[in-house]
């Protein structure tokens, strides 16, 4: 069962990574990058590393997204369509 969970989450992570790179709008890329670290923390827990899982849960899904968004809100006049 553990292997099935790891395979499904891994496929989702790799698909999110491709979408994070090829998505047209920057905001969607940032959300896809958030999905990657969200799923990574479950894999850390399956690998018996709860400390790392807690770290990734706190940093990856919260603070990294917010830091990216602060930077994006300072450059948002660059002609990007943020609602795509």
């Amino acid at each position: 069962m553990i292997n099935v969970i790891i395979i499904v989450l891994g496929i989702l992570m790799i698909a999110s990574a491709f979408m994070a790179i090829y998505m047209r709008s920057l905001l969607s890329s940032i959300i896809a990058a958030g999905v990657i670290s969200l799923l990574a923390s479950i894999i850390y827990l399956l690998l018996a590393a709860p400390d790392v899982a807690m770290m990734e849960a706190a940093i990856g899904s919260g603070l990294t997204t917010v830091v990216f968004l602060y930077a994006l809100s300072k450059v948002k006049n660059s002609g990007e369509d943020n609602h795509g």
Binding site: I2, V8, L12, A32, G34, L38, S61, L72
Partner: protein
């Protein structure tokens, strides 16, 4: 008996996370993706509790608490960004 219960719940959670992931990758709108991210957070919490039950360690539940208490901040930040308040 307990094995069947564990496996069934894991399969249900995996199907749910795949569906939410599909919406977060495809969703035509940013709002769709944000809601999908929020749904994936909730399903992840249940998966973490599942892993804790599978490994029979009560201390893993701390990770689920951190998740539940912290991870909505990203969604709030995206919402504030969309309404030009960040």
């Amino acid at each position: 008996m307990a094995d069947i219960l564990y496996n069934t719940s894991a399969v249900i959670a995996l199907i749910a996370i795949v569906l939410a992931g599909y919406r977060s990758l495809k969703g035509p709108n940013v709002a769709d993706r944000v809601v999908a991210l929020d749904v994936m957070t909730i399903i992840s919490i249940s998966l973490i509790v599942y892993v804790a039950a599978l490994a029979q360690r009560i201390i893993y539940l701390d990770v689920a608490m951190v998740y539940a208490l912290i991870s909505f901040i990203g969604v709030i930040a995206i919402a504030r960004y969309l309404e030009r308040g960040l």
